[in-house]
């Protein structure tokens, strides 16, 4: 290869590389151009109120020890982020360019830990951690995840899952087809689904009401001696795990379902209406009032440590 030919070859290769590099850069740059970053801060009192609305994408919230709300987010092209309010209350939401087809917005928000927080989404997932104030969380089909010890937690979904890890003093969670899991302890719990399963486990519980229509219920926790526990389902399976030496007055009734007692030697008896089964037992001389009722779902009692 002559010198001229070589330099021509090198030039052509370099040219191709440049084009490839330019196309690569454009490809990498296009998502960044389609999305928009936001970062804002506003002051909000430690016990202020904050409302967040984001239809699609995700909302991740962290409690922190500052009287400031800070948000970092990624918005869809053309979408606009709004945030405003005063020291006692603030609000943030996303304005989509196409309301019928909103693009996902990812919001990560830091809030004063004792804030009263209200979040509403459609399909966006909600993830809240370390907030000790009150939480009102609503999704249609997203997932709600809460970690920490909020004073009150109200979580509602239609077909989304709800997962709670921690010790909210007061907890209400409802979904229709989604799953509810609660790992922790609480003095007042109300959980409800239609067909979604509910699983509760952890520390000491006081007032507890769990109901489904066809969803399975699994409970394994310590019963406060003065507590009341109600488990109701139409046709779901109910499995109750109780520590061996726990005092309780237990009553289980089914219209057509079976009862299996792996907790004590007390045997269930046939139901008073000619079908189903009933079981009454008072381990350790009685204590927490436990009522388990199903139409046709099976009930199982078992010992836990």
């Amino acid at each position: 290869m002559g010198r001229r030919a070589l330099s021509s070859y090198v030039a052509s290769v370099s040219g191709r590389r440049l084009i490839v590099a330019a196309v690569g850069l454009l490809l990498c740059a296009s998502p960044a151009a389609a999305q928009k970053k936001v970062e804002r801060k506003i002051p909000l009192g430690m016990e202020g109120a904050l409302r967040i609305a984001n239809m699609v994408g995700s909302v991740v919230v962290h409690g922190w020890n500052k009287d400031t709300v800070m948000v970092r987010g990624t918005l869809g092209a053309g979408d606009t982020f709004f945030m405003g309010g005063g020291y006692t209350g603030a609000k943030m939401f996303v304005e989509a360019t196409n309301d019928r087809d909103p693009k996902p917005t990812q919001l990560e928000v830091w809030v004063p830990s004792r804030v009263r927080l209200w979040i509403k989404t459609a399909t966006a997932n909600i993830d809240v951690s370390d907030v000790t104030g009150g939480l009102d969380l609503y999704v249609v089909s997203g997932t709600i995840d809460v970690r920490g010890n909020p004073r009150e937690l109200n979580a509602e979904a239609i077909d989304g899952d709800i997962h709670v890890i921690g010790s909210p003093s007061w907890l209400r969670a409802k979904t229709a087809t989604g799953t509810i899991t609660f790992q922790g302890a609480s003095s007042d719990v109300g959980l409800s689904t239609v067909s979604g399963p509910i699983k509760v486990e952890g520390g000491v519980f006081e007032r507890t009401k769990i109901e489904t229509v066809t969803g399975n219920i699994t409970f394994a926790g310590k019963l406060d001696r003065g507590g009341t526990f109600d488990f109701d389902t139409h046709s779901g399976n109910i499995e109750i795990g109780i520590p061996q030496k726990m005092g309780a007055s237990i009553s289980a009734v089914t219209i057509a379902g079976t009862i299996t007692n792996n907790f004590s030697v007390t045997a269930p008896i046939p139901g008073r209406f000619g079908r189903g089964a009933e079981l009454r037992m008072e381990p350790s001389g009685g204590g927490a009032r436990v009522s388990v009722r199903t139409f046709k779902g099976p009930i199982t009692f078992r010992r836990t440590k």
Binding site: A96, I158, V194
Partner: protein
């Protein structure tokens, strides 16, 4: 303020919670924008319908007198049965007939309401239940239950109407899930009702039926509330 921003303020506008500064631009926009005007109209309709919902519902005028007389008859029957002289077959028949009448009224009114609601698939089965006259139980409890049942049915029907209007704003998959859930609850209601027809004295069944109705109303209410503004 743009249309998208104002859209988020319509709730507060309708309920009168907007600040004095924010109200005029929203008002101007609502006059000019057909979409927002329709939304405001829809919100006002919802508020008006919600306001129409009674805070507490009084039972029908003759319900309590029927219950009282049924209880008195029950008490009389108990007293008579514990006394030396047994009540005549006519007295016992009268008590049973009253109980059966109350049960038939209870079940047929519930069946009618279910049929009228148009969202319940078990109307025919309910008619069969209504025709059953195997009641020997507690007419007072049943009568009280039927009042509660009618309230649930009325509320469920209103909420279902609202939801039908808002259905377009839900994803098809969510609508399918919702309908499946409502069907699941309706099936549970139907099953419990059939069992109640066989076992009218079973208080547990009444409570289970109540719980299923409560679940249905709650699911409809929750969906209606969540759908607004999504």
């Amino acid at each position: 303020m743009t249309h998208e921003v104002i859209k988020h303020l319509l709730d507060d506008y309708v309920t009168g919670d907007l600040t004095e500064e924010a109200r005029p631009p929203v008002e101007e926009h609502v006059i000019a924008c057909a979409l927002c005007a329709a939304e405001v109209e829809s919100l006002r309709r919802i508020l008006a319908r919600a306001a129409e919902l009674p805070k507490s519902i009084d039972p029908p005028a003759d319900a309590w007198s029927n219950i009282r007389s049924a209880i008195s008859r029950d008490e009389a029957a108990v007293r008579a049965s514990s006394s030396v002289s047994r009540p005549s077959i006519w007295q016992r028949r009268y008590v049973l007939a009253a109980a059966a009448a109350v049960l038939v009224a209870v079940l047929s009114s519930a069946g009618t309401a279910l049929y009228m609601s148009g969202h319940y698939s078990g109307a025919r089965s309910n008619q069969a239940i209504a025709n059953s006259s195997s009641a020997e139980g507690t007419p007072a409890t049943l009568a009280a239950f039927t009042i509660e049942e009618n309230n649930y049915l009325r509320t469920a029907s209103m909420l279902q109407d609202l939801l039908d209007q808002q259905e377009a704003s839900l994803a098809p998959a969510t609508v399918a899930q919702l309908k499946a859930s409502l069907r699941t609850i309706d099936e549970a209601i139907l099953e419990a009702r059939s069992a109640l027809a066989r076992d009218p004295a079973n208080k547990l069944l009444l409570e289970m039926l109540s719980a299923s109705y409560r679940q249905k109303v709650d699911l409809l209410r929750r969906t209606t509330e969540l759908t607004r503004g999504t």
